[in-house]
Amino acid sequence: MEKQFKITSPEGLHARPCTLLVAAVTPFSSDVKISYNDRAVNLKSIMGVMALGIPTGANITISAEGADAEAAIEKAASVISNENIGEEA
C-alpha cells in the first residue's frame, strides 16, 4: 500500500524533517520506501533519503510492504502533518 504527499517544509526533506521521518518508521518490521522522481529508496535509511535531495514542493510517495505496513504508513502520515513537513496529496 502507498500514500502520496506534497512536501511543504521550506527546507525540503532535509535536516530535521528527514531525521523525524526516518526515526518514525524505523521501528516497523515492514519494508518502507519513499519515491521521488521515479527513484525509490529505503525510508529507514537516512542517507538514502537525503541523497534524493527532495526540495520543497516535491510530490513524493511512501509505500510499505509487510505485516505492519498500514501502521507504518499511518505513522509516517501523522509525522508529516504534525511536524508541518507536508500534506497529503
Partner: protein, 568 residues
C-alpha cells in the same frame, strides 16, 4: 615530578588526573577474512558500542543545551544504524574483506556522493558520515574514543590546542581545567576558559609529551604552573591554595546582586563578553549589567557552511531574551586576520591583520552581511539590542555600514516583520585612525567601544600572535592610554557613552586608570566581573581624577604600573 611553565590564562587551581586529547592512531591493513560470520559479528558489536556512546553524547547535549542542539546527534545515530550502509558493509565482509576496510570503502563512497551535491547543507552531511565512521572504526580498533562529552570522572585535559568547539563541549562538572602546548592570553581557548570559569594554562610547548594518561596533574591558572606527578607535599600545598582561592571566590559572591558603583556612588556598567549563546548563562550568573561584546564570529566557526538567517536569529533571540532590559551589544562579523572559516576561502595575505577582514569584508560582500543584519534586526524585538561594527578606519565605512543597516531595516518592515524602534548603532574603536578622530565619529555613532586587543597591536605595530614581539604588547603604554583618554573625552563631548571590550577592561591595574578617565562601560570575561565590582567599590572617582594628568605624563608602561601600585 615534572614542573613546566606556560601562560596562566584563567585563574584557579585544579588537581586531577590527565586526560590526553591527542589524535588517535586509526591506521589498519586490508586483510583477507575467512570467518566472515565472526567478522560481521565484530562489526555489529562495534555499531552497538558506538551507539551506546552516541546516546550518552545526545542525552548530555539535550540536558546542557536543549533538544534542538542535540538534533545533530540524533541524525548521527540514524547514520550509524543506517540499514543501507550496514547492508553494503556486510556484503563487503561476505566477500572476505575485513570490517575496517569494508567500512572505509563503503563510507567513503557515501561521503563522495554527498560531497558532490551542490547544496551546502548536503555537503555538510559528508562530515557527519565521516564522524560516524570514525566512531565505528575506533570501536573496531579498540582505540579509546576522544570524546569530551563522555568524560564522567574528574580530569584535566592535556592537548596540543583546543578548538572553540572542543572548549564548548567541556563538561564543567568533570573537567577541572586544561593545559595546551600552544596559545596565548587572547587565543580563543583562553577566552573561552575564562568564560566558562575553569583554570587553564596555555603555551606550555611540551605538555602533551610530558603528561601521560592518568598522571596526576596540578594546574595553577594564575601563575601558569603545571606540575605533573607531584609529590605529597606539593599536593598538600596546592590543596591549601585551592581552598584559599575558593574562599576568595566565596567572598566575592555577595557582589553578584550589588550595583556597580564606586565608593562615591558613581555608577559604571560592568558587562560580560560572550562568544556563543550559552555563554550568557555565566554572564547572568556573575551579575553582569549587560553583554558588552557578543563576538558573533563564533556562530560562524567550526562548521562547514555559513549559519543561516534562521539559525542566527535563534542565537540572537536566546541572548536578548536572557538579558531582558539589560543592554546586549552585538558586534557584527569579525572574520579574517587570525580567525578563518574553512568554507570561506580568503586569499593568503602577507599581513592578515592589516588585510581583508571584519567590516572590510562585510561591506564588500553585502549578501553575507545582509543575512546577519536581517537575523539581528528580527531578533531586536526580544531585548535591548545595540549593534556595533568592527575595524572601522574611516567615516565612510561607518556611514556605509549604518546606511546598510537602515536599508535592511526598511526592507524587513516592508515585509511586515517586526523590528525594534530604537536600536543604538555604534562602533569599535580599535584602529588608531578611529581613535584620533573619535570626535568626528562621536557625532554619528551612538556609542564607541574601545577594542584594546587590536588597538594595542596596531598602535605599537606588534603582531599579538608573534612571540618574538610580544613584549611590545603593552596595554599601559602611554600612547595607548592617551588614545583611550581622547576617545572617552570625544564621546562625552558629544553626549555618547564610551565602553571598552578588550582584555584590558577587566585588568586590575587598568581599572583605576579607566575609572579616572571616566569610562562608562567595562566589558570583560564573566569571571572578571565580580573582582572588578569589588575593586570598584573601593575606588573614588574624584580622587582618581586628580591623578589623570600625572598618569598621562608618564613615559613608559613600567612607570604606569609602578604609579598605580603606589597610588591606588
Amino acid at each position: 615530578m615534572v614542573e613546566i611553565r606556560g601562560i596562566g590564562v584563567s585563574n584557579g587551581i585544579a588537581i586531577a588526573p590527565a586526560y590526553r586529547l591527542v589524535e588517535p592512531d586509526l591506521s589498519f591493513e586490508k586483510i583477507q577474512i575467512s570467518d566472515t560470520a565472526a567478522e560481521k559479528e565484530r562489526f555489529r558489536a562495534a555499531i552497538t558500542s558506538a551507539k551506546g556512546d552516541l546516546e550518552i553524547v545526545r542525552d548530555r547535549a539535550t540536558e546542557k543545551f536543549g533538544a534542538e542542539h542535540s538534533a545533530i546527534f540524533e541524525a548521527h545515530l540514524l547514520v550509524l544504524q543506517d540499514p543501507e550502509m550496514s547492508a553494503s558493509i556486510e556484503a563487503k565482509i561476505d566477500e572476505g574483506v575485513n570490517a575496517e576496510a569494508a567500512l572505509e570503502e563503503i563510507s567513503s563512497n557515501f561521503v563522495a556522493i554527498f560531497e558532490a551535491m551542490d547544496n551546502d547543507y548536503m555537503k555538510e552531511r559528508a562530515s557527519d558520515i565521516r564522524d560516524v565512521s570514525q566512531r565505528i572504526l575506533e570501536k573496531l580498533l579498540h582505540v579509546e574514543t576522544m570524546d569530551l562529552t563522555t568524560i564522567d570522572t574528574n580530569v584535566i585535559i592535556v592537548a596540543h590546542d583546543l578548538t572553540p568547539s572542543m572548549t564548548a563541549q567541556l563538561n564543567k562538572e568533570f573537567v577541572q581545567g586544561f593545559v595546551t602546548n600552544i596559545g596565548g592570553r587572547t587565543s580563543h581557548s583562553a577566552i573561552l576558559a575564562r568564560n566558562i570559569q575553569i583554570p587553564a594554562v596555555v603555551g606550555t610547548s611540551t605538555a602533551t609529551e610530558q603528561a601521560h594518561k592518568d598522571d596526576l596533574v596540578i594546574l595553577d591558572g594564575a601563575k601558569g604552573i603545571v606540575i605533573i606527578s607531584p609529590t605529597a607535599e606539593e599536593i598538600a600545598k596546592y590543596e591549601a591554595l585551592q581552598l584559599e582561592f575558593e574562599a576568595h571566590q566565596q567572598a566575592l559572591r555577595p557582589f553578584v546582586d550589588k550595583e556597580s558603583i564606586d565608593a562615591e556612588g558613581h555608577h559604571v556598567e560592568l558587562a560580560g563578553n560572550i562568544g556563543r549563546p550559552e555563554d550568557v548563562e555565566l554572564v547572568v550568573a556573575n551579575g553582569a549589567d549587560g553583554v558588552g561584546l557578543f563576538r558573533t564570529e563564533f556562530l560562524y566557526m567550526d562548521r562547514n557552511s555559513f549559519p543561516t538567517e534562521e539559525e542566527q536569529y535563534e542565537s540572537y533571540k536566546t541572548v536578548l531574551e536572557k538579558m531582558g532590559d539589560k543592554p546586549t551589544v552585538v558586534r557584527t562579523l569579525d572574520i579574517g586576520g587570525d580567525k578563518e572559516l574553512s568554507y570561506l576561502k580568503l586569499p593568503e595575505e602577507m599581513n592578515p591583520f592589516l588585510g581583508y577582514r571584519a567590516i572590510r569584508l562585510c561591506l564588500d560582500d553585502k549578501e553575507l552581511f545582509r543575512v546577519q543584519m536581517r537575523a539581528l534586526l528580527r531578533a531586536s524585538v526580544f531585548g535591548n539590542l545595540k549593534v556595533m561594527f568592527p575595524m572601522i578606519a574611516t567615516l565612510d565605512e561607518f556611514r556605509e555600514a549604518k546606511a546598510f543597516l537602515l536599508e535592511v531595516k526598511e526592507q524587513l518592515l516592508s515585509e511586515g516583520q517586526a523590528v525594534a524602534e530604537h536600536i543604538e548603532v555604534g562602533m569599535m574603536v580599535e584602529i588608531p585612525s578611529a581613535a584620533v578622530i573619535a570626535d568626528l565619529f562621536a557625532k554619528e555613532a551612538d556609542f564607541l567601544s574601545i577594542g584594546t586587543n587590536d588597538l594595542i597591536q596596531y598602535t605599537l605595530a606588534a603582531d599579538r600572535m608573534n612571540e618574538k614581539v610580544s613584549y611590545l604588547y603593552q596595554p599601559y603604554h602611554p600612547a595607548v592610554l592617551r588614545l583611550i583618554k581622547m576617545v572617552v573625552d570625544a564621546g562625552h563631548a558629544n553626549g555618547r557613552w564610551v565602553g571598552m571590550c578588550g582584555e584590558m577592561a577587566g585588568d586590575a591595574v587598568a581599572i583605576p586608570i579607566l575609572h579616572a578617565f571616566g569610562l562608562d562601560e567595562f566589558s570583560m570575561s564573566a569571571s572578571s566581573i565580580l573582582p572588578a565590582r569589588a575593586q570598584l567599590a573601593q575606588l573614588s572617582q574624584s580622587a582618581l581624577a586628580q591623578h589623570t594628568d600625572s598618569i598621562l605624563s608618564l613615559s613608559t608602561a613600567a612607570e604606569v604600573e609602578a604609579y598605580v601600585a603606589e597610588n591606588f
